[in-house]
Symmetry: C2
Subunit: 233 residues, 2 copies
DNA sequence: CGGGCAGTTGACCCCGCTCAAGCGCGGTGG
DNA sequence: CCACCGCGCTTGAGCGGGGTCAACTGCCCG
């Protein structure tokens, strides 16, 4: 982790998350003053499960994975954060320790808002509070949906769903391959299955012309069919 | 659903959830005035998945289950609410439709705070807002944990865990049986498995003297061992 | 008395996990 | 520069957890 010399300016920050639009000019200025900014290399851990979280993180650039570690040491990826997303607020607000580990999977520039200041903003600015609340409620909605999926869909259906999710959340490169690049093991960690199962299913999808594979890159060829699979028709 | 004639008085309501302690006397009075109160019989649906939610519900008495319905029509129970709990706020705050169905499993008396009034309280009272936020963040923490469990634990481990959870959340009757009474199918709907699997495992637990069964009633005999099972030792 | 639902048990079998072996590639050290 | 190592990926074999289907029971209620 390196401390950035040119810190993104909050007022003009182009990735500005919706929640910050509720801040007054003054509040934005103070925020820009009290916040910190670091860059992280791929593989660096921002915070670990069951540890205290320093503050609320706001991604200026890069991708972060959030995962829990199971009894056998297997990672279960809960979600990703990307440019413009904030994270770490669950722990700050609930007062609990981190319930996930946050690890950088693509070189990132991330600003840190000290916990106390974040709480102060919530107390002072009800619009800000409201949109943080919205965020956590949206996340809760996703989590509930994922519980249903893991409990009732089979691995094939879930993998198709995850591919579509990665597609809509991260988009594609000019060559039409998914922008996010994950190891097979990480894919397995999202879907909640064994690495070998992901590999077998990916090559099956490839055989069925649903996707194209080039090393770690994935291109979705038939979104309609993938959707149908993910909805277990 | 019947409209109650004697409405619980908010000011002296003994089940008062923490979040309401932040309200001023005036706010409490207004709340008591604008809220509504109904009783629901076992099996009644308060609201359904993908429908608009009328307001935020506060349970004065009874138990409510929250579930999502899978593609095959199978219920996945996400959580329960009991005396003193509030629910429905996720949908009100995020502005989405309900992501679960709320159904009464034990005759309930439930107050309803109109959505607009609930939002107003959040805007006006930052302490109130903060504790609603805490609530949703806590729920998010539980949901994340459950994703890990369903993804990585086997059915036996999950069932043991759920039994312990029901024990701590609902407690026991004087006869030491769990206070909450669920059908085998509902148990399966929590654990995320088939009804037959729950039945087989329950009788296995019984054989191993971990629990005692009497119809729908369950008594935990060896909490230590159940814990060990749930943690996959 | 009969219908229906919750619960139970047995039989069967398939999905997906585990283990093992082999491959390709990039990095490192001699 | 090459040899080696290790990691990520791939494929095959095998098997067991748990899902499905079917049949039966007991109980509640009309």
């Amino acid at each position: 982790m390196t401390i950035k010399n040119e810190i993104p300016n909050c007022e003009y920050c182009f990735v500005k998350n919706d929640i910050f639009r509720h801040l007054t000019k003054d509040e934005t200025d103070v925020l820009a003053y009290v916040k910190n900014c670091n860059t992280y290399k791929k593989g660096e851990t921002i915070y670990s499960e069951n540890n205290r979280v320093a503050g609320v993180y706001c991604i200026n650039e890069g991708i972060v994975k959030h995962y829990k570690t199971g009894t056998e040491g297997k990672e279960q990826i809960i979600r990703f954060s990307k440019k413009g997303d904030i994270f770490g607020f669950r722990s700050i607000i609930s007062g609990d320790l981190a319930c996930t580990t946050a690890k950088v999977i693509e070189e990132s520039t991330i600003c840190i808002i000290p916990a106390t200041h974040f709480i102060k903003l919530i107390k002072d600015n009800s619009g800000f509070a409201m949109s943080v609340m919205k965020l956590s409620c949206k996340e809760l909605g996703f989590a509930n949906k994922y519980i249903l999926d893991i409990a009732q869909k089979n691995v094939r259906e879930r993998l198709a769903e995850i591919l579509l999710l990665l597609h809509t959340n991260f988009g594609v490169n000019p060559n039409n391959y998914l922008k996010i690049s994950l190891t097979r093991e990480e894919l397995a960690g999202i879907v909640g299955t064994a690495t070998e199962s992901v590999i077998r299913l990916l090559s099956e999808f490839k055989k069925d012309k649903l996707i194209e594979l080039d090393k770690r890159q994935i291109k979705l060829l038939d979104i309609t069919k993938l959707k149908r699979i993910s909805e277990s028709y």
